[in-house]
Amino acid sequence: MNEISLQMREIARDLLSKNEVNLVLGWEKGSHWYKSAPLFINKVEDVDRLVFDEFCHNNLSKYLVDLAHHEAKVAIFVKGCDSRGINRLIQDNVIKREQVYVIGIPCRGLKDPDDAVGKKCGEPVKDAVKCQECRYPNPVVHDIMVGEQVNATARGQETAALIEKLEKMTQDERYNYWSRQFECCIRCYACRNVCPACSCRECIFDRAVPDWLGKANNLAENQFMHLTRAMHVAGRCIECGECERACPMNLPLMALNKKIIKDIEELFGENDAGIDPEKKPPLGHFELNDPEKFM
């Protein structure tokens, strides 16, 4: 068992036995060596199930949305990207900082579980795409930290390269590319349900009246869903890449989210969501001298 996992267990044991929290959100091993899954612990006996490894993809801050009215304090383990989710939820008044005890884990980047399918434990596995361009491997908010700080190092440019490729295409080529993607969508809403920026109590996609989104699975409805979703998380996406990982159809959702982030930076200046809880989200404020290129 790795050192970080052991430390996590000690911290969780300590917090629970001293009643400082009554729930710990962490990870445990799942169905395969390349699967780690969210774990909810409220009994000291269960702390030895906690692990941290290169497959702990789930951004647990999502669960804080459900726990907004939790009666006592919750301890949560976060990687760098996940920690931005905590700040975002605080900014959106979904949770209060004092409700959560944040245990940060500097993250060296995770592996792609899909690439591990069929392999034996120990065989080389590709890096997860979502971690390739990580700029915040160290948690930006934490009460304590487990493990050593790590340096951000870009290990790939897959998403950025795809965005550039798309930008260079003609309108019709781009349209055809996205249509092919959206036609594949099965509308399972895994992307929405895994996303810490999707914190509405009732989503417009679920409402029968007014029926913004019909239930038929066709290109038009799917376009509506993905454009609305992308605009809704615009300026609030913390780049954890969970939507893209969760998508069973492997839609390149981060090529949407990161394009918007890129545009926001070009238009309104640098903005990384969930870094500074005091900073207003880019679509939630304005400057008098904002560009007016569309006039």
């Binding site: 996205w178 417009i204 038009a220 376009q223 509506f224 454009l227």
Partner: protein, 141 residues
């Protein structure tokens, strides 16, 4: 059915109640001619327009959308149009990234006294959209 010969674009204008709607009114009162292709939807503020209103309009058969409101500094609610500006600058880029022709979605500032500007903007918009032809990209078949 050959619709293309007789095709006339349908254009939706989200008009802010305080400026653009008054501007359109003035254009009417001044007997300024503009194409009959536009449908005006009055909104309390251009900031009321949600991105999904725009996408939905396209899906339901609109060929071009104009969001129009007060000039910066003139918002009846002080700052609404500044948010509009950011939101739709970003959304215009997103729609372009999706492969939509950028001319189909436009934002303009038209005040209550700018009847001629209203006439000019919608006339140009209709010309642009006519040149593009029907919207077939974001459309509920």
């Amino acid at each position: 059915m050959s619709i293309d010969n007789a095709w006339e674009p349908k254009i939706l204008v989200f008009a802010c109640n305080w400026c653009t709607y008054a501007g359109a009114d003035l254009a009417g009162l001044s007997r300024l001619q503009y194409p009959a292709n536009i449908r005006i939807l009055r909104v309390p503020c251009s900031g009321r327009v949600n991105p999904q209103f725009v996408v939905r309009a396209f899906l339901k058969g609109i060929d071009g959308v104009l969001v129009a409101g007060c000039h910066p500094g003139d918002c009846h609610y002080t700052t609404g149009n500044y948010f509009t500006r950011r939101r739709f600058l970003l959304m215009k880029r997103l729609l372009e990234y999706m492969g939509l022709e950028p001319e189909r979605f436009q934002t303009r500032w038209i005040s209550g006294s700018e009847g001629p500007k209203f006439q000019q903007v919608v006339t140009e918009l209709v010309q642009d959209i006519k040149a593009l032809g029907p919207n077939r990209k974001l459309r509920d078949a």
